[in-house]
Amino acid sequence: MEGTPLEVKPSALRLAGAALRKRARGWGGRDVFPIALGGAVLLLVLSPVGMLLYGSLSTSPPGDVGALSGAGFAALGDPEVRSVFLETLVVASGATALSLLIAAPLSWLIARTDVPLAGLWENLLTLPLFIPPILLAVAWSIAASPRAGLVNRLPQVLGLPGPLVNIYTREGLIWFLAQYGVAFQVSVLTGPLRALDASLEEAGRVSGAGQGVVLRRILLPLMFPVISNSALYAFARGVETFEGPLLIGLPGGIKTFAVYVYERIHHRARPEYQVASALGIAALLLLLPLMALQWRVVQGQTFHAIGGRGYRVTRLSLGPWRWVAAGLCGLYGAISILFPALVLLFGSLSRMLGVFGENWLTWEHYRNLLRDRYLVQAVQNTLLVGLTGASAVVGLGMGVAYLLVRGRRWARLRTAVNLATWVPVGIPGVLLGLGFLWTFAFLPGPFQLYGTIWALVIADITLCLPVTVRILQGALAQLNPDLEESARVCGVGLARAVWEVVFPLLWPSVVAAWLLSFLIILREVSASIMLAAPGNQVLAVALVVLVNQGRIEEVCAAAVLTLIGVVGLRSALTRIPSTRTEPRRPPEAGR
């Protein structure tokens, strides 16, 4: 069938051109920044999503001739899909609530009180971010599987009815996901909490408010952008996360959305791309209103906790209760972090994980890793992609956060950019990887990104954009714009004002954003496995290969080495800016 060519009247073109010229006459140099930045973000995010949208509406994936069809979206009416969505909602909400309940008080203890060893607790509580989910899942299986779990052997020995703990339940899955949620939220909340001006709390106390009222009426409202951002992020991650639900949920009959989408692609005679893409788009459309609501609430309110008049950071004295507080931090750390870390160490030194016998301890897995040239190359590639990607996304994220928090013009563009920065976390990685594959392979013209390491870097920048923007947006919302405006009054340009004034004050959040991005890139599998060409393989994909080969002990060894490397990197990063942020560090400073 031949289509009718679209007829455009010359007069219509002239009118459109005139309107554009009129609009453009009102643009100045200050519009270049939001337009360029907004355009870059929309292009990064919407390209793979656009491909998925195409895939969801076409009977054939991109590259093949297909017919327009709504059959993909019709699958939403399937009772199984509805039950999977409901289950996902319950699990993601439960994990978000639990992680917030644990992370918020622990972050407050670490950042705002004189709890002993605060630095140690902060490092410890954020450690799960460094552990690949597949390993944490294996660790919990070893400990709490109903049949052979270490803690469940006790009732078996005593002849009591068991199991004592069963990780393969909905509650087990919520706990598993909450561990990552806590780690993420502690790493996001402590920086801004630490940066809060103590005089605000003191003003509350002087007015006769108790600690509870100060917390409820002053601290929580000031922290709202950060808390709501991180909670939403944790919720979206709970919806799209894959490994935990696969290894912990599925054995207990709990099937979540990402696992279901994965099955529609990988567990069918022919991958059902149309249905899978439609489910991904539907999930995104369900999440976006939540994100838009949060944006509406945050917009138009001020959360400035750091102003230009100088400020003080004090830590609340807990008296003897500080040891109880330290005990709480230690207890949570021991259960959720030390235990899996020890399992990893133990696994890396075991000849076969979970099997004991003569000569069961060995160093051979470390030796094997260091001899594996494929793995060594993967580590080099990962460092290149991780360092480049994390640095680029923090730079981009800083610009986006500034546009969103400080921007006064281009309201629609800012709303669109804000929503766009949520998109990568709203779609399961397995689908986004597919979207990137289609985008890069079918990129028109001379652009040859498919098969290069830069395709990975660009995909990783997109995937890390949500977390980076959320962290920096929340932190920036706390800074009073008077700070950089004062600098500009003194004749300093915007870029220099941001670099000299805003950047040092945001440094803890910048470090957190960079580290989290680096860790996401380090662990990211879905996009990498679709985009990595031979020679460009990254560590996460190499680990998947080891897992597929059943070399779980070598994966443990790789995780231990990664853990040591990232902890070292983190401590190095936090030391660098101490002189730049010196006024905010001591308990009493800055006035």
Partner: protein, 359 residues
Amino acid sequence: MHGRGGFGLRLAGLVLIGTLVVYGIPGMLGWAAPADRAGEWARVVEAAKREGRLVVYDAFGGAVPTVQYAADRFEATYGIKVEVAVMRASESIERIRVEQRAGRPIADLVTVGPSTVRPMMEEGVLRPVEFLPSAIRVSPQLRAKMEEWGLGQHMLTTLVQLYGILINTNLVRPEAEPRSWMDLLDSRWRGQMIMDDPRAPGGGYVFFAAAYKQLGRRYQEALAEQRPFLTRAIAEAATRVARGEFAAMVPFALGLYPRVRGGPVKLLIPREGAPYVHLGLSFPARSPHPNAARLFAEFFLSREIQLRLTQDFILPAVAGLGAQAPQEIRPYLRARLWDTIDDPRRDPEWLRRAAEIYR
């Protein structure tokens, strides 16, 4: 006179028949004369060396370690760099489709099974397997099966994966070991088995189809009633049996056995025999290094790599080499081949059947 003339005629006849045999029939069948073939192959080897590089998509997900071993050995032998990208079968199908459609091919070779090669053939993204000197050494039975399925042109069978049962020796007493596939229906196995998921192409599906054909639907229904735990993470599943989380893994790909061999486990081949599946190599329609790809495929059929397969508990495709496996492995590789999947054209139907039974 009559006698001499008769001899001359007979001689002429023999020469004619000989000529036909040597040149005519192979010509009709598309075979070239050995000398021509040798010359052609020498040109392929030279061209492969000039190409200097090769990209293999390993769609076995790393579960057949021999692929990487062959890549390393090939590089050492010919000086041609081999890059192996490991992925899932479904990912390899989509990547090759996209590369071919976009005109940006990267893969020169892809490892496949019958269920993987069929959709790629239907998409038209593969080219027929060209002449390889060693292809003739592949077991005739295996080649016949591929021809029967209509895959002979597009898939070179290089190995055969066998399936048995893995048990935990701490949990299963010797007298309780399953000797037959039927033994798994005993109530003692209820909730004790971990199973490669039969609802997706893979080992579980091979076992499902084989046992269904041999023992009937009722067998699979009874097995499903034993409530096996279904998984696709087969290597991890084997370690879960070793750790004692499950008493048995069904079916168990023999290629995984070297990974768990040191643990309290035992590999069993039931008396009916081992389900099996052909695995091999296919050539994307357009590829940057087509000659290197052919040379690698030939190298995979070499005695060195085929014997190496036996060390990984995998049956070589080249006839007769299974018997040369290491002594302790030989009994497993000489197990009776029980059955395999049905025609891959009917995969969707079989998988639907599996999904009906294993919910």
